[in-house]
């Protein structure tokens, strides 16, 4: 565990294991509570409590509830931390403990952290800016800017856990955390790093709410009907916001095995490319999303027909769900006939930059339990999204390999391929 980071110079391809999971989510704190609620279909979506939305049309979101950061971080200094920093740092703590790394002298000294966040501490940044004008710059104490930068949650985590490896924040919109996990996977596979904490974090704030509301992306905005997230549903009308911190521990397989770590599964492929240009026609967008999936499959040397499960981006967006469904349909061979398709967002919300990591942890838990949770609220599937959608109840199947999609309507499409190493 204490070997220094490699240079990534040799032409090697190490295998990359997932050895720990940490979750702070509207569906529950910790992987057990999260999974139980997911399988039992208990939704994390409820009337928004943390911000005042009286004067705006959309009233629902998936907010983290019943979370006590002191349980994970202790009481000291909590008042200086933003909600997002508490989510992320607690999720990392859980993931390290889950991987049995934070105890018994196995502290990962050369571990690094790569986290995706589209907005990070957006509302705290703008609060600080506002206070410069409202109170005057001389009134702002140095500690007032302790945790207000977009990436300060990640910096704090690297300081809190005394990490010596790379610390990196990726901010590529909705695919941020998928790109963070994909990047961490690449760095371990190339032999450069040995152990990386990867995932995503976002926090609900009035600023983030307004950004999505004013773009007309939320379910129920622009008088589009009732607020309900129903990915691939005939009457879907946008997404319901979420938040949370979702983290996995990625570890070079041999060294994970040699310390007797539990192996949840392996990451075997990652692909990313630009899909969101408004220059692209609908057909081009579909073929690009399909291309992202093919890139990830090629990267993992896996044929689409081997996929048992696709954890879809499916966030209940009118256009994007259809694009994704048709892209999946276009995969070569009988991939779309065989693979089951599900989405976690109708229960956990669309947590944008953290969504990729939310889906990855959901997929890993599905693999571990050989159980695919259904797409909640999906009563009336859209005939244009004609896939093996899992509806109504969870399906028991062995999942040997799975794919997780993350799509930004104005940015990247990114895709990760996972393999169940117990098979």
């Amino acid at each position: 565990m204490t070997q220094p980071n490699g240079s990534g110079r040799a032409d090697v391809r190490k295998r990359v294991a997932i050895t720990g999971i940490g979750i702070v989510s509207p569906l529950g704190i910790g992987r057990q509570e999260f999974w139980t609620n997911l399988i039992e279909g208990r939704s994390g979506i409820a009337p928004i409590a943390s911000i005042d939305v009286t004067s705006y049309p959309c009233k629902l979101a998936a907010e983290v509830k019943g979370f006590n950061p002191a349980d994970y971080l202790g009481d000291k200094g909590l008042k200086y931390l933003t909600k997002g920093t508490k989510f992320l740092t607690s999720a990392i703590k859980m993931a390290l403990e889950d991987a049995r790394l934070n105890t018994n002298g196995h502290f990962p000294e050369h571990a690094g952290v790569i986290i995706g966040s589209a907005l990070g501490n957006y509302s705290q940044t703008t609060d600080y800016t506002y206070n410069i004008f409202k109170l005057g710059p001389e009134k702002l104490l140095p500690m007032a800017s302790f945790d207000v930068a977009l990436n300060s949650s990640i910096n704090f985590a690297s300081v809190f856990f005394k990490l010596k490896g790379p610390s990196r924040t990726i901010s590529s919109g909705f695919t941020s955390s998928m790109d963070a996990i994909g990047n961490a996977f690449n760095l371990i596979r190339s032999g450069r790093d040995n152990l990386l904490i990867a995932g995503g974090v976002e926090q609900l704030s009035l600023d983030s709410y307004l950004i999505f509301l004013l773009q007309g992306l939320l379910s129920g905005s622009n008088n589009s009907g009732p607020e309900l997230s129903r990915p691939f549903g005939r009457h879907r009308n946008g997404f319901v916001l979420g938040e949370g911190g979702y983290v996995v521990i990625l570890e070079e397989l041999e060294s994970a095995l040699s310390r007797g770590a539990k192996i949840y599964g392996e990451v075997i492929g990652y692909g990313t490319t630009y899909i969101g240009s408004n220059r692209f026609s609908l057909e081009e967008k579909i073929s690009r999303v399909q291309r992202v999936m093919e890139l990830a499959l090629e990267d993992g040397s896996l044929s689409g027909e081997s996929l048992d499960l696709i954890y879809a981006n499916g966030n209940s967006s009118k256009l994007l769900d259809m694009i994704e469904a048709r892209a999946i349909k276009g995969l070569s061979g009988d991939a779309s006939k065989k693979a089951l398709v599900t989405s976690v967002k109708p229960l956990a919300g669309e947590c944008y930059g953290a969504a990729g990591a939310l889906q990855v942890v959901s997929c890993v838990l599905a693999m571990e339990n050989s159980l695919v949770p259904p797409i909640a609220n999906l009563e009336d599937p859209d005939p244009e999204c004609n896939l093996n959608l899992v509806t109504k109840k969870a399906l028991q199947i062995d999942i040997r390999s799975a794919m997780v999609n993350s799509l930004d309507p104005a940015g990247n499409g990114s895709c990760l391929v996972l393999k169940n190493s117990s098979q």
Partner: protein
Amino acid sequence: MRRVVVTGIGLVTALGATVKETWEAMLAGKDGISEITSFDTSRYKVHRACEVKKLNFNGHIITKKPFTVYDCLLASAREAMEDSGLDGYEPLRRDRVGVSIGTLAGELSLFERRLRDHHLNKADGFDIEVALSYPPMTLSTQLAEEFRMEGPNIILINACSSGNHAISWAFDAIREGKVDAMIVGGSDVVPQTEFTHFHNLKSLAPERCQPFDKNRQGLVVGAGAGVLILESLEQARKRDARMYAEVKGYGLSSDGYHMTAPHPSGEGPVRAMEVALASAGLSYKDIDYISAHGTGTPLNDKMETLALQTVFREMAQDIPCSSVKSMIGHTMGAASAIESIVCCMAIKEGAIPPTINYETEDPECNLDCVPNQARECKTNYALNNSFAFGGNNASVVFGRVHLPVERGSVI
């Protein structure tokens, strides 16, 4: 593994609107500092910064300020793209050209301006156009649109080492054959928010930036952008592109120590530099020039000297190691992208820019910081250091491009 070369560069700094202008001013040892004009500094103890004075859009000079982060980025990206000739390469696969950009704060200054100029409450200040420009991802997607590139779009937010992070992301992607080229860089202006943050941490020098000087008082905030076109050697040779330098390797590390202060021993930077050298397959003895992080804060320069002494041992005093931050300020998310271009120019032009404002030797900074005068010096390998707030370290090694001996068409 493919090799990665720099085939185009573009610069916007307080010293000039093009690579040529900035480079000539740097070699002349000019200081880009001036009174801050983009916001009122009367309630601060510091009034000076290295702001950008003009932009050059392919020969069209713009002086109407204030400039946005994207304005600076676009001007330098256009210069770099034109310089590279990439756009005119017919067989170019646009889906294999991506964009990776580093920034500290994105377009935060737009939000500031709206609050400030309209005396608004925060919620009223929420204008969708402004709000949508803040998420930093818009910087890379706008560039992708501008140049019609369709590969991955990545934004790296790593405080003042963002530029080196953006370069290393792109380096990996090209080396592994995922893409053929990347538009890479960093851009930042001087947002009042960041200025206030540094000011209230007492990190700012009141008059000028004096890296490695005994009486150094802190950093000077700067604005600017640097963009590099990174490309596989294979494609660069196929299209007969000019090559400034090769990206040889990089190293990343964290101090894991403190949110703002560096670890005094410099152990994090030591790891970043050592991994960078190992990744480049080089020994410390091979490095001819070091572009220092050299912010001019008492803590950083002392720590960086210690770290350099650890890595470069008996040669630490002899390798020229300058900080252009003395002339263009600390351009934050853009700094290491700009300084990467300085490394490329040092390799290509055989000259090293100085550390200006250097007056009094500091025994704790016992380095050859190329004081006040530029120097002719043949550089085969250059190391670019960036050690950001939060202990976020990234070093990149650049080298002269040595082409393999032709044997058929094998590269």
